[in-house]
Symmetry: C2
Subunit: 156 residues, 2 copies
DNA sequence: CGGCTGACTTAGGGAAACCAAAGCCAGCTA
DNA sequence: TAGCTGGCTTTGGTTTCCCTAAGTCAGCCG
């Protein structure tokens, strides 16, 4: 089991968590819609306009996000207005925020000149960034990460 | 500037770091190739086979990754073999590991039953996960993140 | 009750991404 | 020098994603 990396033809494709995640959010528009939801956008036309996507595409992707359980669609009413639907993040959707934060951080460094948004800690105002940590509380640099077989590989 | 979130029609699309990052890696195959590179895969046919993608697609995506500076293509030779090319992560590509780690963590929770791989801290063996932290060293839960205008918005 | 607005859906079409099958070329190996 | 293998490229076709333009439907507003 020590050099299971060398035999990864058997498991690289199958049962991969990254591939599973990408089956749900492996698409530009979907992630940008989640970005908007994390900014607090709730209404259909605002999603479409702010993501820069046509209405049919916004409708299709939002529907898929609701079906996948990342957004919750529920009726609401502003005073003096008719009932509408709004889309809000579920816990499952909110758990993707680290992905968005990691993409943002990479994009800040490599893809844009001046970031339009920065994340700050509400309590102390310091900049927020993504870090790898171990359960014992250590910061883990990329070169101190070991890959080990998980429970999905033990039966083999 | 306090409620700049309410006026985000002006900046949501333009100059977004997430959109910029997705222009480079916003595609399933590309991220899976980077996953393989992070596992140590180097040769063309191994990339194609392990990602589960056809050779023409592997060739096109690897070429794009090299052009974008995420992979380095360089000749190497095994003893008694002819010279070949291998693909290895650059620093720019390695900086995407938090994105892969965040996707993996979400997929472990929501997309697969039993993860095939787990990440451990080389020094202590404890499980590695992705966390949001502020520059002052605090752990930052998702609901303690403030969105503030960045330098790219100040001129407006 | 007729118009307007928000939230979509439908129709038609183009571009991008993928596939399988086959071809090409360089350079060991026999 | 004739094959074999690794690393691609070419060809032709399908699926996915996105577009614009137009239509639908509900319900508040006049």
């Amino acid at each position: 089991m020590t050099d299971f990396l060398a035999r990864r033809d058997s498991w690289s494709t199958a049962n991969c968590s990254i591939a599973g995640a990408l089956d749900v959010v492996g698409n530009r528009t979907t992630l940008l819609l989640l970005r908007e939801a994390s900014f607090g956008t709730r209404r259909f036309d605002e999603f479409a306009r702010r993501v820069g996507v046509s209405e049919p595409v916004a409708a299709a992707r939002l529907k898929q996000l609701v079906a996948d359980g990342l957004l919750d669609r529920r009726p609401y009413r502003e005073p003096g207005q008719r009932t509408r639907d709004e889309y809000v993040l579920t816990d499952k959707g909110r758990d993707l925020l680290p992905v968005l934060a990691a993409l943002r951080e990479w994009g800040d460094t490599y893809a844009v000149d001046e970031p339009a948004v920065r994340l700050a800690h509400h309590d102390c105002g310091a900049a927020v960034h993504v870090a790898l940590r171990c359960a014992a509380g250590h910061d883990v640099p990329a070169d101190e990460v070991d890959l080990l077989p998980g429970p999905g590989l033990l039966p083999s």
